[in-house]
């Protein structure tokens, strides 16, 4: 088992954004987390990626407790998330954005030896990031914008760059926050390819979306949450036929 979420709960003052959430992810899973707007999906992701500290519950990652760790520790452990509306280093080039995201790779490869590369006559440690950066640029169809400032990208381009940066972190579990929202058809298809490629390489994916879009086909397990609580879990097709779910989306009358 890769990640086990046990009774995870988050309260903001009086409001309970996530209540007593439990589920598990195995190596190579692709899990879709669905739920209407404001159902607590993003909060859940922020809890897992350490942006928020849970009020209660545990996050067991390969038998290690992660709850309460800082985001960079969690990212180092192998959990990386993308943002719903993309976060970038706007004034830097697309290449440099991805290069910054290469920090963990560098750390894993070079360890403390990377300090030595600060001194003369020891080459640039970042050099061996380049092939990887080029690969990701190609994979995400961003080669054309390699040296353009990130701020100049289209919305879709920015989201793609967000994914690209996440990939550069070489996560074992990738959390995607509404990757499809606001994308055109080609961009969706491109994203779909990228995700399938990831699956092929055995990266575990946890994707959230408020609508059951292309994810339905991609995911092999769906978790539906409503008002911060899990109301259904299972194969997408079954889950989406579930009464509670239809209720959550369309209201009681249609039940």
């Amino acid at each position: 088992m890769l990640l086990e979420v046990r009774n995870l709960t988050k309260r903001f003052g009086g409001l309970t954004a996530v209540s007593d959430m439990s589920f598990a992810l195995d190596e190579g899973d692709i899990v879709g987390i669905f739920g209407p707007n404001g159902s607590g999906k993003t909060t859940l992701l922020n809890l897992i990626s350490g942006v928020y500290e849970p009020t209660a519950g545990q996050l067991v990652w390969q038998g290690r407790e992660l709850a309460g760790c800082k985001p960079h520790r969690i990212a180092e452990a192998g959990i990386v998330k993308t943002f719903q509306n993309p976060q970038l280093f706007g004034e830097l080039s697309v290449h440099d954005n991805i290069a910054i995201a290469g920090h963990l790779r560098l750390k894993r490869q070079a360890g403390w030896r990377r300090i030595a590369t600060l001194f003369p006559l020891r080459g640039k440690a970042s050099a061996d990031l380049e092939p990887r950066i080029d690969h990701i640029l190609r994979l995400c169809r961003l080669e054309a914008f390699r040296d353009a400032p990130a701020a100049s990208l289209s919305y879709g381009g920015e989201k793609m760059l967000g994914v690209a940066m996440a990939l550069m972190c070489e996560p074992r579990l990738l959390l995607l926050d509404e990757p499809g929202s606001g994308l055109g058809h080609d961009e969706i298809r491109n994203l779909d390819e990228v995700l399938r490629d990831l699956r092929a390489h055995g990266t575990t994916l946890c994707v959230i979306d408020h609508r059951v879009g292309f994810l339905g086909k991609l995911a092999d397990r769906a978790i539906v949450i409503h008002h911060g609580a899990k109301i259904a879990e299972g194969p997408p097709d079954d889950v989406l036929r579930d009464h509670a779910v239809i209720e959550a989306y369309l209201g009681r009358s249609h039940a």
């Binding site: 990212a75 440099d96 920090h103 600060l118 003369p120």
Partner: protein, 310 residues
């Protein structure tokens, strides 16, 4: 390529046989170290530290007092000064960054710490001679091929000593800035939350940048105090910190060496334009204002842009 720009500086003393110009340049180079190192923290990591002048003064005191009390040479004394400043910076930086003080808060708390240090130095008369300051009785020595170990005296020797020092500083800091670590600094400056989720230890690299910057200030402090051969608590004054900021801004934040230009202008200005003090104060103020409003990228930034346009 850009290393070529050091060559004219090496040649200056052969062209300009004028002690005053050379003296101004010595002060410029030492101030340059100060401004360049400050810009690592300010321009590249985005943290407005007002502790820089304190690091400068602390190391000056530490260097001389360790030489007197431990009977060590200037260069060892400088190392003591640097180590001492490093230690203090780690403590203060750790406090500020652990409690995640940002922007104005960081600026004010670092200012508070430097004020406290100034007050201690000022009132610890038995050890620092308080407000009377200390007149140096020692001079640095240097091994010069062919002449053996000789004391560093005279403008010419100081010129080359400080030139080498500032060149090394620029070299060292550009190594950092153009490395993976420089990218970490940039990510913190631009969006530290994102940097955090990408696995960059924001606390650690803020601290590294703060300490690395103060080390530069420490070296500048040891050199400056021995060139003037006098230290007093005014080294810590707020005006010092402000002057450093002005140099960095005037030169340009985005290039490692640019603050040296700011240092040159602000050091030379009082001696180039010969007007009374009030007018000089007026001009200084106008320079700051106009720099920000008309060329926020500083002198070098302006030139660089022109070149790109051309």
């Amino acid at each position: 390529m850009k290393h070529l720009l050091w060559i004219p500086l090496l040649a200056v003393p052969f062209v300009v046989h004028d002690n005053v110009v050379l003296t101004i340049l010595v002060f410029t180079f030492i101030a340059g170290i100060l401004a360049v190192s400050f810009n690592l923290v300010f321009g590249f990591t985005g943290q407005l530290s007002l502790f820089h002048a304190a690091a400068f003064g602390l190391s000056a005191y530490a260097t001389y007092l360790s030489m007197i009390h431990l009977g060590i040479s200037f260069w060892l004394g400088m190392i003591v000064g640097v180590l001492f400043v490093t230690l203090i910076s780690v403590v203060i930086g750790a406090i500020c960054f652990r409690f995640n003080l940002r922007e104005l808060y960081f600026a004010i708390v670092t200012l508070a710490f430097s004020e406290l240090i100034r007050l201690v130095i000022l009132n610890w008369n038995s050890f620092t001679n308080g407000s009377l300051g200390i007149n140096f009785t020692l001079t640095p020595t240097l091994w010069v091929p062919g002449r053996g170990v000789i004391p560093v005296t005279g403008t010419l020797m100081w010129y080359y000593l400080s030139l080498v020092a500032v060149a090394l500083a620029v070299f060292g800091y550009s190594r950092i800035v153009h490395s993976w670590m420089g990218r970490c600094f940039a990510s913190i400056r631009l969006n530290d939350e994102l940097a955090d989720t990408l696995g960059i230890d924001v606390f650690r690299y803020k601290l590294v940048s703060f300490v690395a910057g103060n080390i530069g200030a420490a070296i500048a402090g040891s050199l400056y105090s021995f060139y003037i051969s006098y230290i007093d608590p005014n080294y810590f004054s707020l005006d010092q910190s402000l002057a450093i900021i002005a140099m960095a801004l005037l030169g340009g934040r985005e290039f490692v060496a640019a603050p040296i230009v700011g240092a040159l202008v602000l050091t030379a200005l009082p001696h180039v334009i010969n007007v009374n003090a009030e007018a000089r104060l007026l001009i200084y103020g106008l320079i700051l204002i106009l720099t920000i409003l008309l060329m926020p990228r500083g002198i070098v930034g302006l030139l660089a842009r022109q070149r790109r346009a051309a």
